[in-house]
Amino acid sequence: MRHTVIPFGPQHPVLPEPIHLQLTIREERVVEALPALGFVHRGLERLVEARDVPQMIQVVERVCGICSMIHAHCFCMGVEALLGIEAPPRAQVLRVLWSELHRVQSHLLWLGLFADCLGFESLFMQFWRIRERILDLGEATTGNRVIVSVNVIGGVRRDPDAAQLAWVAAEIDRIEEELRRLEPAVLDDPTVRRRTVGKGVLSRDQAWELGAVGPTARASGIAEDMRQTNYAAYGRLYFEPVVETDGDSHARLRVRFRETLASLDLVRRAIRILPAGEVRLKLREPPAPRGEIVVRVEQPRGELLYYLKGSGEKRLDRVRIRTPTFANLPALLAMLPGVSLSDVPVVTLSIDPCISCTER
């Protein structure tokens, strides 16, 4: 039987991000998938040689716009640990609040794109309409819609007042109500189910072996979420990860939809426990971290790892960023064999690939 090699990407209508998959096909089914990366690699980690620590916050926020808040949060936590300082309690809770708003807007972005990839245009419009309201909350409380740029070493630079927080809480309630109305259309629609159930199955053992993270791992039954490590204020919010066990594209869809609702609840509870007080430490000197540290947080797409190394200078010696999409690529290569060519875009999108993160 002859094999055919078909290129998928680096530009594809369903995934307009620069990743290329070389698909070997036999009778319309994928036999093997090989990736090609590096079309827009930016070498951002090496900018550490030219930027001091506060400037590096601006750099890491630009690794990925969609989860810029969480990149900066992770970086600042690492620097603060090396300096032996801790952000004030109010700042810790605000970091959780903005991180969860970021997760919601990221998941809504993906839910819309996923609906679009299935040809469900009206659902795409609904998710992106709701997402705009989350961006409005970000803009009102931080001054920016996507790259919120709110983290600093030793805290945050914005402090929403009581009236703003009451408005955020009320808006979260309304958004949750709208999302719950969409739930049957997302999870139970026969066309959505036909395109996703049993497609791109990743077993629990495969997910572990291949180092899958985030919703991709949790949809295969791995109950692991970096928020369980209780960083920032998560320890006070009694967080439970969303887990499914089917390991297919529909399970990944269910995890992300339910995580969106869980994140809205975390925002609500963060507002409830928000203590009074300062939001930023006053540092007497420019930060000059010494030592090395590994920090992990949960991005919308999964575990994000930063390795920082400093020698007491104003610039760090090394910043290493392992993003979740990079970790999920081996799992994607394992999901594709056996999949019909027409399902490749759906399965690929089901890991929520972020090539901006990958090409840091």
Binding site: L34, P35, A36, L37, G38, H41, G43, E45, R46, E49, A81, W208, E209, L210, G211, E224, M226, Q228, T229, G291, E292, I293, V294, R296, E303, L305, Y307, K309, S311, D317, R318, R320, R322, F326, A327, L329, P330
Partner: protein, 140 residues
């Protein structure tokens, strides 16, 4: 580092990684950083039940490091990334892009090495070449 970090000789790396896998540790990723003009520091990060531990291996830039991709296939992409950015080679890499995961023939060799990368067997086409040594390499 806050977590357990063990330094292992390069010859013992594969056995140690296989032992950790058998004990249920997941490979999180690898980190490479330059120690000086001759050596790289490789850190292998592992997770079990949200707890981290690290293995540290110092490798000579001129010599191939053992690939752990036969034990953890998920290491293949990050080992290719280190090959591209630091110039060091990994022996036994299951999916080997030969230094071409990110780099084009005209890209600089070992772009993340401030002190200069290892000697290239086949120098890249025009525009590429060894990264020149920088100041303060010995302290990095």
């Amino acid at each position: 580092m806050r977590e357990e970090t063990r330094t292992v000789p390069v010859q013992a790396l594969l056995a140690e990684v296989a032992r950790l896998k058998a004990e249920g540790w997941r490979l999180v990723t690898l980190t490479a950083s330059e120690l000086d003009a001759e050596r790289l520091d490789l850190l292998y990060h592992f997770d079990r039940e949200l707890r981290l531990q690290h293995l540290r291996v110092a490798v000579a830039k001129r010599e191939a490091a053992p690939s752990i991709s036969p034990v953890f296939f998920s290491a293949a992409l990050v080992e290719n990334e280190i090959q591209d950015l630091f110039g060091v080679r990994f022996a036994g890499l299951l999916l080997d892009f030969g230094g071409g995961l990110y780099r084009e023939p005209e890209s600089p060799a070992a772009p993340f090495c401030r002190c200069g990368g290892p000697p290239q067997e086949t120098p890249p086409a025009e525009g590429g070449g060894q990264t020149p040594g920088g100041e303060g390499c010995a302290t990095r």
